[in-house]
């Protein structure tokens, strides 16, 4: 990890197109502004980590669990009789 120390109103560039600016430091909170091309995703790290974790938990459910789920749904919402 590259570690830099910045003060308010100083910036860091990532590549040639991404600029992080320290806008304000107040207590233990830092306001950060980010200029980046719109096609670059910017995420709060803990939310991205939550998605990673959810994807891992969701990966490759069994056919049996899907059948049970379909059956549950069918029992709850029976299809109306066809005329």
């Amino acid at each position: 990890m590259l570690v830099l120390t910045r003060s308010a109103n100083q910036s860091i560039m990532i590549g040639h197109d991404i600029v992080l600016t320290i806008l304000e430091v107040r207590g233990d909170q830092v306001r950060i502004g980010i200029n980046a091309p719109r096609e670059v995703g910017i995420y709060r790290e803990e939310l991205f980590a939550a998605i990673q974790q959810a994807n891992r938990s969701a990966a490759s459910p069994s056919d049996e669990s899907v059948r049970s789920l379909s059956a549950l749904r069918r029992d709850k919402d029976p299809q109306p009789e066809q005329d």
């Binding site: 670059v40 995420y43 998605i51 969701a58 069994s62 899907v66 049970s68 709850k76």
Partner: protein
């Protein structure tokens, strides 16, 4: 699986292939998927099957089936990345996590998959609005 093999597969089976352009969080190498109904003829569920790893698949559903009020704001990044010009070009899918019982099934509403209906390119977005959870019960 190489891109050449994926293209051959597409021509052979004629099954549309969804291209997750940046991969999936935790599975960044998984870029090519098929989508087929899973669970019977009247099932709303689909299998999002990886072509890069045949052992990797996800249970997905259009969120409107269980969450009719769910209207996530798709950020500029995803719109730009997929070249979306109108909201009706976007197909939303949410990934379900199964549990020990079917009643334990939950939906990831924090990270929906957005598919461009015409190009079949897709991204899994991370909603900036963190009030959504990755584990919302569907029952």
């Amino acid at each position: 699986m190489s891109v050449v093999e994926v293209n051959e597969l597409q021509n052979e089976a004629d099954i549309p292939i969804i291209k997750v352009v940046d991969g999936l969080p935790a599975f960044p190498w998984a870029r090519h998927f098929t989508l087929v109904r899973w669970g019977g003829d009247d099932s709303p569920f689909s299998k999002f099957q990886s072509l890069d790893d045949p052992e990797l698949a996800f249970l997905v559903v259009e969120p409107s089936v269980f969450f009719p009020d769910y209207e996530p704001e798709i950020d500029d990044h995803a719109v730009e990345r997929l070249g979306l010009e109108r909201s009706d070009q976007a197909l939303l899918l949410v990934i379900l996590t199964t549990g020990d019982r079917p009643e334990d099934t939950t939906a990831n509403l924090l990270g929906p998959i957005v598919v461009h209906r015409e190009t079949l390119e897709a991204v899994q977005v991370v909603l900036a609005d963190s009030t959504h959870s990755t584990r919302v019960p569907i029952v």
